[in-house]
Symmetry: C2
Subunit: 269 residues, 2 copies
């Protein structure tokens, strides 16, 4: 998917919602627990229910890897289903990979070619040759960790002067363009999006931390939105586990729709 296709779809949907597909088997609706293909059934129902309200899906690989080989199979099935049924939706493999050059090339092949994701999240610690192999794929996006939404962001990202995450944004933004590069910027520290936008005024930001992690959508839009919207705001647990019963998917749709309505107002404003 290209940058302009993504922006056009955001305007068409009046949404910049990304639904995180993080199926925790201990939290699945009761009637699915114990079913052989519970995770796949859950994902399919969530996708079908939320597709009208979101523009992106973000499966986090950890939740699939925790299920062993079967989990990896469900991850492939899930991505394949989205591509077939909702081809305009942007698919982010939230994998947080990154290794020496020849190894990052292998990860890029895995997620872009084998799996067919549009984007992958990448950790910056190992520097340029760990990031650049991902950027070489046409019409694919590399989403580099900038400022994350967790408590541990304090340990290294916010240390130093200028702090590490600013240095990461400055340096990494030189390696790509808004056409192939995005950054993760956590919503729990939304006011910091103002500082982030001084460094990277036009790249898309993938913003986790709205919902279960406590961030505010209004603040994210206020400090982070660009003329092209420039935001993908992720919600996972607040949508996936909105209800525990047979109609979990209806509760998930309602939650996604609520966020989409807020987003439509923010896009108009």
């Amino acid at each position: 998917m290209t940058y302009s296709q993504l922006v056009a779809f955001i305007k068409e949907q009046q949404s910049f919602l990304c639904v995180g597909l993080d199926p925790d088997i201990t939290k699945l609706p009761k009637h699915l627990q114990g079913e052989k293909d519970a995770v796949w059934q859950f994902n399919k129902a969530i996708i079908d229910a939320t597709a009208p309200y979101c523009v992106a899906y973000k499966p986090n690989t950890a939740f699939y890897e925790a299920l062993g080989i079967q989990g990896w199979t469900v991850l492939f099935e899930t991505i394949s289903y989205i591509k077939k049924s909702y081809p305009k939706h942007f698919i982010i493999a939230d994998a947080k990979r990154g290794d020496i050059g020849n190894t990052s090339s292998m990860y890029a092949q895995a997620f872009f070619n084998q799996m067919g994701a549009d984007a992958i999240t990448v950790a910056p610690y190992m520097g340029s040759d760990s990031v650049k192999p991902f950027l070489e794929f046409k019409d694919k996006f590399t989403i580099v960790l900038g400022l994350t939404s967790n408590k541990g962001a304090d340990d290294f990202q916010l240390q130093g002067s200028p702090n590490l995450y600013s240095k990461v944004l400055e340096q990494v933004s030189l390696w790509g363009t808004k056409e192939n590069l995005m950054f993760v910027a956590g919503a729990t520290q939304a006011v910091m999006l103002k500082e982030i936008r001084k460094i990277i005024p036009s790249h898309f930001l993938l913003v986790p931390g709205v919902g279960a992690q406590g961030g505010s959508l209004q603040e994210v839009a206020r400090y982070g939105m660009t003329a092209d919207v420039g935001l993908l705001v992720n919600a996972s647990r607040s949508i996936l586990y909105a209800h525990n019963g047979n109609n979990f998917f209806k509760a998930a749709a309602a939650e996604a729709q609520k966020l989409q309505s807020e987003m439509a107002l923010l896009i108009k404003a």
Copy 2:
């Protein structure tokens, strides 16, 4: 595996060699190329040939993920084979994972419980809650990236004063002990192991970069060795692709034996 079991095995084998199992299908011996289970055949032959000379195996997940679902299956088969046939060998999943707390817990389950690895490599960028869930598993090791062996290490790890990698070693070493925590320290900058040992005098170091990446074994031992050896030196390409013909495994064994002989002298000295 416990710390003392690992140290005892190193002394028994007179080796601190780790063989990196990074099967690049474009580099496999010609007679295996095109075979349905080429990677599995290759891994099994390499493992059987090198087991007398090494103490650890380190499959890098990228090379398996690049092969799609089948690759993930081969990774499981490979680890299962090592555990069954060579139960004293230490198994490192070189996965470079790391995410917010609940997600890192999923990765820990994936690699320690589902896959049965003894250790996993973890990236430190996201801080404490991304690392600590791995440390909670008994008799397992978390190997955190300190100073890596690639060119990109200059971009962030070596920046700042004190530089980032020193801060990572100082901070992360407070979260665990030598009984559950190790660090990656690249051999291409062996003299820096002297500085690293000032910060972490007793943790094991996983040292990539000997062989294809150009590091020297003597220098690594000189600056990095502890009373318990405290080193796992990895070689991948120089062993795996020592020869391209039918007897590739004999060439791999010879290369591993050569390193083991050097290591035996260094352990004695």
